[in-house]
């Protein structure tokens, strides 16, 4: 025992002396700390506090009225809360699928796909918005058709989505047990293809038969909610995939193979093994994606057309109120957006402090 205690002491001393050697003089430390705090205070803390001060300057009642009394402002909040979840879910599905594809499979064009995922990051949001205007706008490629009989495309679109969703589900869920695989069931690819064709036909037939979509009516994408969703989803596309790819690559495929060899189906493997392993990456990606989607201005500004009470999201509404010299109203909406951003940050920090203990990535990668 005594030998142990003796041998433990010297390293402690060594660590202390190393720390002393590495430490800079006090004035450098205090100077740098002060500088950092001053810059942070002037550039971040004071403006953020100012938003809330300005918003609440005339009292809580006025603040409340500014937020909920103005129907256009109210609508902008509702619109943001509609557009963001749709874009988020879309990106979640596509992000997980893309990350899965890139990290687990090796195929020609993999690097190109990785670069393409990053494209929305590097393209200016205004250009992204313009892109959609050029495709779906009145003078765009699809504009005349959408204006003439836009809803005619809906049955195809919905049926295609359903058939596309059926394909991976068919492989993941693997509905027929192996023992029953006789005759037609022996060819799972054929079953999947045939099944998705049937799904497509079924959805198409139902939509046509019940005439769910109006005929000869223009379908507005630009200057309407679909355009807002498209632009938001495009700009925030890389967040989920970018977060997941490194996590999935670090986790590897061994655990998933182990699950399969233990008799799990693809569906069970995904929910029991893959999702828990990428859980934190997923949550982190969603938070970042959400923050960006709510604050998105450039791309949305181009496709929205700024129709008050129709296509104004919160950031657009703030700009408009500001230009109308309605400063209290402007700051009231801004405070809500800021509050959401702060909440997101808090959530992110909470997760990060939780990460090392239970995370998949840093947990027990001893190899």
């Amino acid at each position: 025992m005594s030998a142990e205690t003796i041998s433990e002491k010297p390293p402690a001393i060594a660590v202390a002396s190393v720390r002393k050697i590495q430490q800079d003089p006090a004035w450098v430390r205090w100077g740098l700390t002060f500088l950092a705090l001053a810059v942070l205070g002037v550039l971040v803390v004071i403006p953020v506090i100012n938003i809330f001060v300005e918003a609440l300057r005339a009292g809580v009642a006025v603040y409340w009225n500014n937020l909920f009394g103005d129907p256009d402002t109210l609508h902008s909040m509702v619109l943001t809360l509609t557009v963001v979840p749709i874009a988020l879910v879309t990106n979640l599905v596509f992000g997980v699928a893309a990350a899965w594809l890139i990290s687990k499979f090796d195929f020609p064009g993999r690097t190109v796909l990785t670069a393409l995922i990053d494209l929305p990051f590097s393209v200016s949001p205004v250009v992204a918005g313009l892109m959609f205007v050029l495709i779906f706008g009145l003078q765009g490629y699809l504009g005349p058709f959408l204006r003439r009989d836009g809803y005619a495309v809906m049955p195809y679109l919905i049926s295609l989505l359903a058939a596309g969703a059926f394909l991976p589900l068919c492989f993941l869920a693997c509905p027929v047990p192996a023992r029953a695989r006789r005759g037609f069931w022996r060819h799972p690819r054929l079953v999947a293809l045939g099944g998705s064709a049937v799904v497509f036909g079924l959805f198409f037939f139902i939509q046509q038969f019940f005439e769910l979509w109006p005929h000869h009516k223009s379908l507005k994408i630009i200057f309407a909610t679909p355009g807002l969703v498209l632009a938001t989803a495009f700009v925030t596309f890389p967040f989920v995939a970018r977060e997941l790819i490194p996590v999935m690559e670090a986790v590897g495929v061994d655990e998933e193979l182990a699950a399969l060899s233990l008799g799990a189906s693809g569906w069970q493997m995904f929910w029991h093994i893959t999702v828990p392993n990428i859980k934190w990456g997923l949550v982190y990606g969603i938070i970042l994606c959400n923050a960006r989607a709510m604050g998105e201005f450039g791309a949305v500004s181009v496709v929205s057309g700024h129709i008050a009470g129709k296509t104004d999201t919160m950031p657009l509404r703030i700009e408009k109120l500001f230009q109308e010299y309605n400063l209290p109203g402007c700051f009231a909406v801004a405070s809500v957006l800021t509050l959401l951003a702060i909440l997101t940050l808090v959530a992110k920090t909470k997760l990060e402090s939780k990460l090392p203990a239970t995370a998949s990535l840093h947990g027990k990668k001893t190899k």
Binding site: A178, D254, E255, L257, A258, A259, L260, S261, L262, G263, A264, S265, Q268, H272, I273, P276, N277, T358, S360, G363, K364, K367
Partner: protein, 351 residues
């Protein structure tokens, strides 16, 4: 025959991992796939498990063709090299997973998990996470997880590869005993010849995607079928000999050629294991090889000598400690070594 592999070929790009491999695994046997890295042993194991698809060939289990069955339908227990334990599940959840996905009742899962924990001697650790276990414990949990759903075959990929020497030796014996208790057909992959010879009933020596030899540890060690097997199992001295008038010459020492070696060849190779030398300080007719001791290592039960021969080759010799003491050998001594057993291979073989 529990597992029958027929003419399996597998390529990865330009690399041929398995080249027309056929293998029989008898029921209840413990079989080792032994070979250097890149010899295709892990690929063969994964094809049997269904984790890899063969380009051609068939895999049978008791006459049932399982070539196109998915991994989940094959009911094999697979133990991964790095364990691949589910890191977010406890030990008990890990072990019970194979039963959970087959919708076994909860009470049954719990009973089976307890039984297996007893088997792997980790009672009381069921609530731990894999990250809180040592390497040897993780290995045993991985084994228990593979055994839980009562697989038809147990496949182990380098089961002791990532463990330190002591734990490895201990687990090796434990696996041997476990196999004796369970009598389950098992295959394990290893590159450690000692491990294969000690644990397995039968050893399959693989090289460059082909099977070199299948046999009991005794057979492959004492009767290697090819120079490669001879080289891979244990230390060996290799001499290139001239062939003249039906005799082979190691340096200047003539030795009788066995019948199976072609007398027409100009040269041949002879393999002699280090412990199959007789060592003397005086010449014994002209049957001995002459040389000087360059280095000797008397630590351990056998004394290892490096002898530089007259013609320049180094001969590795192992002699018992008593013999070393009786002869009072020193570094620089002139000695005569006489091979007791030789293995000849014609030069058209290549390693």
């Amino acid at each position: 025959m529990s597992i029958l592999v027929k003419n399996v070929t597998k390529t990865f790009g330009n690399f041929t991992a398995l080249d027309n491999v056929s293998l029989e695994v008898p029921d209840g046997s413990l079989l080792a796939l032994l070979g250097p890295s890149g010899s295709g042993k892990t690929t063969l194991l994964r094809i049997i498990a269904g984790l890899e698809v063969a380009d051609s060939g068939t895999v049978l289990h008791r006459e049932e063709d399982i070539t196109h069955q998915s991994a989940r339908d094959r009911k094999v227990g697979f133990v991964f090299q790095h364990y691949a334990l589910f890191r977010h599940m406890t030990v008990a959840q890990n072990i019970g997973y194979g039963l959970r996905v087959r919708q076994a009742p909860k009470a049954k899962i719990r009973a089976r998990v307890e039984e297996l924990l007893k088997l792997i001697r980790l009672e009381g650790l069921e609530a731990r996470y894999p990250g809180q276990l040592s390497g040897g414990q993780r290995q045993r949990v991985a084994l228990a997880r593979a055994l839980a759903a009562q697989p038809r075959v147990l496949l182990l990929d380098e089961p002791f590869g990532a463990l330190d020497a002591n734990v490895r030796r201990e687990l090796r014996q434990w696996l041997r005993n476990l196999h004796n208790t369970l009598q389950m057909t098992s295959l394990f992959v290893t590159h450690d010849q000692e491990e294969a010879l000690e644990v397995a009933d039968r050893v399959v020596v693989m090289n460059e995607g082909r099977i070199e030899q299948v046999g009991t540890p005794n057979e492959v060690y004492h009767n290697p079928a090819s120079p490669f097997v001879h080289h891979f199992l244990g230390n060996v001295n290799l001499f290139h000999c001239r062939v003249e008038e039906g005799m082979a010459y190691i340096g200047n020492t003539p030795v009788q050629l066995p019948a199976h070696v072609s007398r027409d060849a100009k040269t041949t190779r002879v393999y002699i294991r280090p412990h199959l030398f007789e060592i003397e300080k005086t010449p014994d007719g002209n049957k001995s090889l002459h040389g000087t001791i360059k280095h000797l290592n008397p630590a351990g039960p056998v004394v290892k000598l490096e002898v530089t021969s007259d013609w320049g080759d180094t001969i590795n010799v192992e002699i018992p400690n008593e013999r070393y003491r009786a002869l009072q050998l020193q570094k620089g001594d002139e000695v005569y070594v006489r091979p007791k057993e030789m293995k000849f291979f014609s030069d058209d073989y290549s390693i």
